[in-house]
Amino acid sequence: MELELDGVSFGYKDTILFNGLNYTFKGPSLNVLLGPNGVGKTTLIKIIAGILKPYSGRVLLDGKPLVKGSAAYVPQDNELLPWLTVWSNVELPLRITGVNGDERRFRVLEALKSVGVPDKARAYPKHLSGGERKRVAIARALASNASILLLDEPAANIDPGGRRSLWRILRDIAGGKLVIVVTHDIGEALMEGEHIHVMAGRPARIAETLRGGEGAWGQLKRIMETYYGG
């Protein structure tokens, strides 16, 4: 699976964030996007998700233009609709794409089981912890059968235990999907990510890509100094 950014340009008002950005993410794999504040990480995954339209350029999946719904997006906040139960939240993309009732029920239940929250099906989001809300949002992405999963700061405001279990779920999912996670936490990115993509500059580019894991820890100081100014 190849997700290709082909000459993507985008900006806000007077700021050009991307100017003909070319880059390819290969999957299935767990990718982490790192970079200083305001570099355009969230904007980039919103472009991939089809929420923002680039001024020029294309987003391709295996050589074909990416259609909406192929990439499931989990925002940093407001990841679930508060007026829908967990079940209805997970079911939502299936309703929108017109999946029939029996299949919907099967896929929602499987997705909730796979992230370990089938007992929360009838709860409303306000009664879930931060970690549970993220898991449900991931279940929604799984139920939708999207081949790409995009998460913006998924571990923010979650306790350390919840973070570990969230990353474990993401690693499992990355066995079959292309997962791209935006984070500010360099240490966590280096430890948990499979491929780390460091964004920098204005217009932004992917300045560096490195392998994650225990061995990547040695890179922490250098990355801090090179891209974060200290």
């Binding site: 919103k46 998700a49 089809g50 929420i51 259609v67 909406k68 719904g69 990439a71 499931a72 997006y73 925002p75 906040d77 407001n78 990841e79 609709l81 508060p82 007026w83 829908l84 939502l92 993309p93 929108i96 794409t97 409303y124 306000k126 939708s144």
Partner: protein
Amino acid sequence: MGSAEKDNGNILWGLKLLAYVALSLAAFTATWHAASWASGKPYLPGPASVALKIYAEAFQGNLIENTVITLKRVLTALAIATVLGFSTGLAAGKTSLGSRGLRPFILATYPIPHATLIPILLWILGVEWSKIGVIAMIIYYPIAVSTMEWSMRTPRDYEDLIDSMGGTLTHKILYVTIPYIIPGFLTGLRMAVSVAYAIVFLAESFVLTGGLGAYIEESWHRLDYEGVYSGVVTLSTLGVMSYTILWLLEKAYRSRFM
């Protein structure tokens, strides 16, 4: 918090509320009684004599009949204003055409003193529908404006989610905008209901064809002081009850989802 604890909390909250209402009502009645006793004027009868009048009028007079007429008018106007206010408010807040055309129209016509249109509406709509028309026209605005403002404030994240799922504007309105604006809409409706009972009095006392407004007006002409107060108390009770029901609905919605 467990569900049993939550239930207990709700019951406690309900009991406290009832206690506050009972205390306020008792304080109000006591002040009224004292004022009536101190003034000794016939135009300020005490609460007991007004209560007796209401009791007598409910069984022997036409208070209930007039209350039903007023309620029918208010509810019909409310239904019309809700459908129009909600749909135009939504269109003004969520569509580019509505935002360019409807929004300036709603905001520009909001300050017009619509009650002054009663005589004109009488010509156009006839006696009965002019009353409903003027109430609907006035209460349309709080509903439309609150719906419009809340729909414009819908969090972008929620819409982005629907967008990323391949959803259309209809999906966004159905799954995000409408559930999000319900508390704002209920606030608007609550304000509208309070105004509706004031306007129904004006409309019904303009041409007397039944209703509590006409009942109050007729009692006033007969110098039937208890009668005037009976109508006012009944109309106020309707207003307070409607307001409270909508407030509780709004509170329940907010505490369940927000």
